[in-house]
Amino acid sequence: MTLERKPVSSRRDFFARTSDGLLGAALLQLLTSDVHADRPPKAASEKAIGSDSSNRTSNYDLSPKPGHHKPTATSVIQLFMNGGPSQMDLFDPKPALDKLDGKPYPGSIEEIGNTNVSDIGVMMGGRYPIQRHGESGMWMADTLPHTSKMVDEICMINSMWTDHPNHDNALYKIHSGRLFMGYPTLGAWTAYGLGSENQNLPAYVVLGDPLGLPKNGTRNWTSGFLPPVYQGTPFRPSGSPILNLRKQYEQPSEVSLTASEMLKQLDEKHRSRRPHQGMLDARIESYALAARMQLTANEALDLNLESAETLRLYGVGEPHTDSYAKRCLMARRLVERGVRFVQIFLEEQPWDSHVDLASNHRAICQRTDKPVAALLQDLKRSGLLDNTLVIWGGEFGRTPTSQRSGDIYTGRDHNMQAFSTWMAGGGVKGGMSYGKTDDFGHKVIENPVSVHDFHATILHMLGLHHQELFFLRSGLEERLTGVKIPSVVHDILS
């Protein structure tokens, strides 16, 4: 383990420091339009977590902070599968359900868990051939031919459940632990708790689908009541990755140079007359970081620097996989550079198959399967998987019954009572299947994992304790995992 880890951290260090070191300084000199670029970044100050919002002098920042205990994961890549993938079709086969295919649900259909019973159809068996894979013999459908080769790295949780059958609320829940709008997401809490290892990039990056925003839009990466500095920063997949990273107007470079020199002098003078004003130092530092970011952000996302073999592995350039492959590869490049939390979203909610589930799920698998498997493989071979946690899953699962839409019954409705999610790397047990659902994949019957448990477990891997990670708001200790104390699922940790 130790042997494998060392090169990883030095690799991260290398990228994290590049722009502060000789190489970075030299490059910056060439670009020159950057303001205050030659100021060295402030030494990372160590701050305790559990900050007090009433202490107005505290300046919230992204400097690295020690966790509560030794982490097994230092970064997270969340492959968010918006819409709710179907567990019984993809991961959790149900022979009993297959047998009843086309027959009525044996029981009160109101139990199905959704509010509207009028469009509940009949039992719908698994739509794909499904087999055991790898040494572990984990189940996976034939729509995921690549991911199924990586099952021995994967810990499959079949016993997830949530509290609301609507997308909006279930999305709030899975991201922020609360059913309602306005609470900080897991990524925001992570950035708040741990800061970032790379001050030249945001701590929490969101890679959106060029086709559009996911359901619930930017609220999927909000910082809620935490200071906005902890919110996710969406990187654009093409062109300049961050808003306003480049000048949005034309100006000769000598002009920029003169202007930045002027600004530097004016600010230095302003500051020299105002000693002991920490925020003025912080502000000057933020201009320096902005300058460094112009360099690092573009470099971090530049896939031309990857080998042809790697591009092929992910499926870059192939019609179906190109878009998702690029984002998976960017995610690897970002965690390699010390970004704490990366989320990849799909447009709107492609997994939400109320209609034509078989073909819709197959199409979305085709878009994502190969890139996802390649990400695991690539992280594995570079050693990054040891301390990068990869999470795959959506906001809920799907019902064992079909759903009427118009006059066809080809899709499944939402199921909050059971769904499957998998994790890999970062200290989870590979090749493990955890938890059980009933004969129809409808309800959890063994080892249930609530969303709070799920969050507590992820925080645990990151070295954070869910009770100690809090934010004081008007006298209330606000936590990701709420008031009732959740349990870390220790069984899935190696």
């Binding site: 009433s54 992204l62 086709l211 200071p227 201009y287 970011m293 819709n360």
Partner: protein, 993 residues
């Protein structure tokens, strides 16, 4: 041993173990009571029952606490009492712990089945209050206040007995023959198809059993009075609880009669002294930005800077306070507190609240006219009930104002307009948000915790939360919920109605035309995109694509999805590769959007008011155990937190006649009574909380550092006497907020310099002693408003429908300009017509159009931006504009690089600096000044930084301008624009000394 084990097992199985007390060695009276008395009695005895729990008698144990948990079960895992002891939760920290021997004793007593000498009847007599909460939750939607299907009303026993078309709902003593039981058990009721329509879920088995048992027992109607404050001592809150400073009314301090007296005393104690007074220009900038959120105009700056009047400073404050811009600044702080938003939030669609702005304008107006704070609160909490008191029938401006004011209680996130999210728990969340705004915002109390259990730190029993909920029950009733439609009133004065009739019809016609054209263009653009990029695709498929777009994406077939994706990809292709007809249509669509926006702003606002009013028929309010909607506990009546009273004074409520515009009924009067209690001069918190809030805005930090929490967990105030003195001054000034500004800003404390000395840094780094003024960063509004104002791009038009934002494809949310080119009167010096396009030469058609419209445009103050929860303008968001969840009592300040990127690279900021440069040049011309770099630099300083440039700065500026002019190949205007842009980026512009 073996024998004893068997005995214990035996006893456990018996329902009334007490009867066998003699045979057991551990008895409550002899063994357990003394332990409870010694270790728990301080908080859990008959006269003091924290958490509603009395451990001094078996009766108390049987009754249990507020959670309703079982305390006497012999199953250890289920025994809540044992759980608390075992987890070390009780006795709490700081109190003597249980000894090991005592723990063992309690354990074996519990295992023995809690034997006692006195026999306790374990039968709870069912009453209508065991049944009504179930009926409210499961039947009320069809057989309650809004509907009486089958002519059946199940709100009272009388109603049940009277029954409906099919006969009485129940047969006393015979559940099997009772219609309601039959209907429920066959699932005929609630009907399957109505579950989602009326947001109802079926009763649980336990609930049905309760209904049956109650009917079997003869449907007894107990004489249960709601739990309200009485004239006897409150057992849940002790005198010791009331001793906390914030729960005692403020009193005049013995010494000191000014802010400076109290600050001075503390300074001396800390070994500090006053800082030097700030210089005159610093004071001018400080006062303008503080009160108006914008720097002074040049003429005003000169006026105060050169005034020979000894009292120039206090005259300036009076002058600034009389500006209508003041309400736009300080009203915004109140909107933060109220959680003002122009959208409902909650669901993805984030529907707009089209007339929420009327409340925003009400607030601005109230601040501008210095409406007494007590009146301001009463109107917002109970404007509807005030109208009822007056009894007037005509609709006057006053009627409208008071109804609009109640919008205060409707500001929270509200998803109950959704087709699927209007169940009781979701409604309760809306109610909880309103209570949270009222308690933390107006009273500095964190009552949110008490929704589920008694407050851990503050003496707020769960009961008090629900008494407060009962205050709002008449208007915010989770069992009688007003839909989005029902909560609108269409009410207007005669003048307003006449205006609508006169001006709007032709505009509405235009609007219709534009909307139609917009739709047409949208379809045309899409079709042309497809025709151009997918020439092989059939026209049928093109039409299918358009139809598919009208469906929710999760109900599209795979073919439809693929077609839509094809279109989306075509839309993303850059302009340079798009056909001319698409570009042309896009330009027109943009213009139509703009025209529509302006048209809507020109229309006379609709009559609609978003209000809250009492319906005169509140459902009973029950404590909800653990805060769960289906675990009703004690029936409570309206009341206020006991700790803020002497605990022996009933809360007097007088029902009032409802305003005639609302209907002929009696309003509960509960909110009016609450508002009057809240604004009574001896209220311990109302005045303190407000003056502290004002103080915090002026001095960076409040005397009490957390504006939303004055409870026992909060840091004590830095100057408790000053806080009391200010609170009393506030009340004695007639609750005048402007009087408070004068008092604070005229103090020596406020006029100090903000320089931090080594001594300050060493003794008082956080400035709690106020030996200096803090250096403060402009907040999002002040920054944006200052940029617009300085560059002459601000429209000072106030009020009305908010300015829309637009979201670009890269996620940038920018603000739609308000008006074009019609601000020349306000800014004579602009000379806008002479401005060239900002982006210089640009061959992109899209860029050119935007640049042209930007250069002509004006924007209104940030308070008039549409606050849609999902579309916060990027510039505001970057500078810590808060999210409202449900409100914001204290904004955070971050210093991050996206702020630098925004100021340096954003096109809008750059365009504004160009406007600023042109404004300077025109000013020099119009005023006949000697045009030179030096004059320009000095003017830039005066306008942007509200001070003249010093000789060194002039020198440096002159030098820089020369260099810039060179780099711009002799273009002086562009050089000056770059200079202005740089000044906008300086710390001097962003921070206030």
């Amino acid at each position: 041993m073996l024998f004893r084990f068997i005995v214990l097992q035996f006893i456990c199985c018996l329902p009334f173990a007490g009867a066998f007390g003699e045979t057991s060695d551990v008895l409550f009276e002899t063994h357990i009571k003394p332990v409870f008395q010694a270790k728990c009695g301080k908080c859990h005895r008959e006269n003091e029952r924290k958490g509603g729990l009395d451990l001094s008698s078996m009766k108390g144990l049987h009754a249990g606490g507020e959670t309703g948990d079982e305390l006497l079960t012999a199953v250890l895992e289920d025994n809540a009492l044992w759980h608390q002891i075992e987890q070390g939760e009780m006795p709490p920290e700081g109190e003597p712990a249980l000894r090991e021997k005592e723990r063992r004793l309690i354990r074996s007593w519990i295992l023995a089945g809690c034997p006692s000498k006195t026999k306790i009847e374990n039968t709870h007599e069912l009453t209508q209050h065991d049944v009504l909460p179930i009926l409210l939750l499961r039947c009320n939607a069809c057989h309650g206040p809004q509907l009486q299907q089958g002519e059946l009303d199940l709100r009272t026993l009388a109603g049940m007995l009277r029954g409906g078309k099919s006969g009485p709902a129940l047969v006393s003593g015979d559940p099997d023959s009772s219609l309601m039981i039959q209907r429920i058990e066959t699932q005929a009721c609630p009907p399957s198809e109505s579950l989602l329509k009326f947001f109802v879920r079926r009763p649980s088995t336990a609930e049905v059993k309760t209904l049956r048992d109650w009917i079997a027992a003869g449907a007894p109607e107990g004489e249960v009075e709601p739990d309200v404050a009485t004239t006897s001592n409150d057992p849940l809150v002790s005198p010791n609880d009331r001793a906390h400073w914030a729960f005692q009314p403020p009193s005049w301090p013995d010494t000191g009669n000014s802010i400076d007296d109290f600050v001075g005393q503390k300074l001396t104690e800390a070994g500090l002294t006053w800082s030097m007074p700030a210089d005159r220009h610093t004071l001018i900038r400080r006062v303008y930005l503080d009160l108006l959120g914008m720097p002074p105009e040049l003429d005003e700056l000169e006026r105060w800077a050169s005034s020979k009047d000894r009292n120039w400073y206090s005259r300036m404050i009076d002058h600034v306070l009389s500006s209508p811009r003041y309400g736009e600044r300080w009203g915004r702080y109140w909107l933060d507190l109220a959680g003002y938003a122009d959208s409902e939030g909650g669901i993805s669609a984030d529907p707009l609240r089209p007339v929420a702005w009327k409340y925003r304008d009400y607030v601005i107006e109230a601040f501008n006219e210095d409406k007494p704070y007590d009146e301001f609160l009463i109107e917002q909490l109970a404007g509807d009930e005030l109208l009822g008191q007056s009894g007037s029938k005509t609709v006057t401006d006053d009627t409208i104002e008071k109804l609009v004011a109640t919008g205060f209680l409707r500001m929270g996130i509200d998803e109950t307009g959704s087709r699927t999210m209007n169940f009781v728990p979701e409604r309760l969340k809306v109610v909880a948000d309103a209570i949270s705004v009222v308690s933390s915002g107006l009273m500095g109390l964190t009552m949110e915790c008490a929704r589920c259990h008694s407050h851990k730190y503050d003496p707020i029993p769960q009961r008090d939360y629900y008494r407060l909920k009962a205050v709002f029950q008449g208007a915010l009733d989770e069992h009688d919920w007003s839909s989005f439609k029902q909560r609108k009133l269409n009410l207007a004065t005669e003048t307003h109605q006449a205006q609508i009739a006169r001006f709007n019809p032709p505009l509405e016609k235009q609007q219709k035309r534009l909307v139609a054209r917009q739709k047409e263009l949208e379809a045309e653009i899409r079709l042309n995109l497809l025709r151009h990029h997918h020439p092989d695709q059939s026209e049928t498929d093109n039409q299918t694509t358009l139809r598919a777009l009208r469906k929710a994406d999760n109900t599209r077939t795979l073919i439809e999805k693929k077609l839509v994706e094809r279109l989306q990809k075509a839309e993303l292709i850059p302009d340079s590769m798009q056909p001319t007809n698409v570009l042309k249509d896009r330009t027109e669509a943009e213009q139509v959007r703009k025209d529509l926006h302006r048209l809507r702003q020109r229309m006379i606002p609709p009559k609609t008011i978003r209000a809250l009013w009492d319906q005169g028929r509140p459902s009973p309010t029950y404590v909800l155990r653990r805060g769960e909607h289906d675990k009703p506990g004690t029936l409570v009546g309206p009341g206020v937190p006991s700790v803020l009273t002497d605990g022996k004074t009933p809360f007097e409520v007088t029902p009032v006649k409802a305003a005639s515009h609302l209907g002929a009924y009696t309003s509960t009067g509960r909110r009016l009574a609450f508002a009057k209690w809240l604004t009574s001069p001896d209220h311990p918190l109302t005045a303190r909380v407000m003056v502290n809030r004002i103080f915090a805005k002026h001095f960076g930090t409040g005397l009490a550092s957390d504006p939303g929490n004055f409870g026992r967990q909060a840091e004590p105030p830095s100057h408790p006497q000053l806080l009391d003195w200010l609170a009393l001054k506030f009340i004695h000034s007639g609750w005048s907020i402007k009087a408070m500004h004068r008092l604070m800003m005229n103090s020596r404390t406020y006029q100090q310099s903000s320089r931090v000395t080594a001594k300050h840094h060493q003794i008082d780094a956080t400035n709690r002693f106020l030996a200096r003024m803090p250096l403060q960063r402009l907040d999002a509004e002040a920054l944006r408003d200052s940029l617009l104002f300085v560059s002459g791009r601000m429209s000072l038009k106030s009020g009305g429908i908010p300015d829309a934002v637009s979201v670009s494809r890269n996620g940038m949310v920018s603000v739609y300009p308000s008006e074009e080119n019609n601000h020349a009167a306000t800014h004579a010096d602009n000379g806008i017509a002479s401005i060239q396009t900002a982006s210089g030469k640009s061959d992109s058609r899209e860029a050119a159009t935007i640049a042209k419209s930007e250069i002509d445009a004006c924007w209104r103050r940030s308070i008039y931006l549409q606050y849609r929860r999902t579309e916060i303008a990027t510039m505001m968001d970057t500078f810590d504009y808060p999210q409202m969840g449900p409100n914001c009592l204290d904004r955070s300040v971050s210093t991050v690089s996206p702020q630098a990127l925004m100021m340096l690279n954003d096109k809008h900021v750059h365009t504004l600096s160009l406007s600023f440069a042109n404004r300077i040049i025109n000013m020099i011309k119009n005023r006949g000044l000697n045009d030179s770099n030096r004059t320009r630099v000095d003017l830039v300083y005066r306008m942007a930084l509200s001070r003249p440039a010093d000789p060194q700065e002039i020198e440096f500026g002159d030098d820089s301008l020369r260099k810039l002019t060179n780099s711009w190949h002799g273009d002086e205007t562009k050089a000056l624009a770059t200079y202005c842009h740089t000044i906008f980026n300086t710390a001097a512009f962003l921070y206030v000394d």
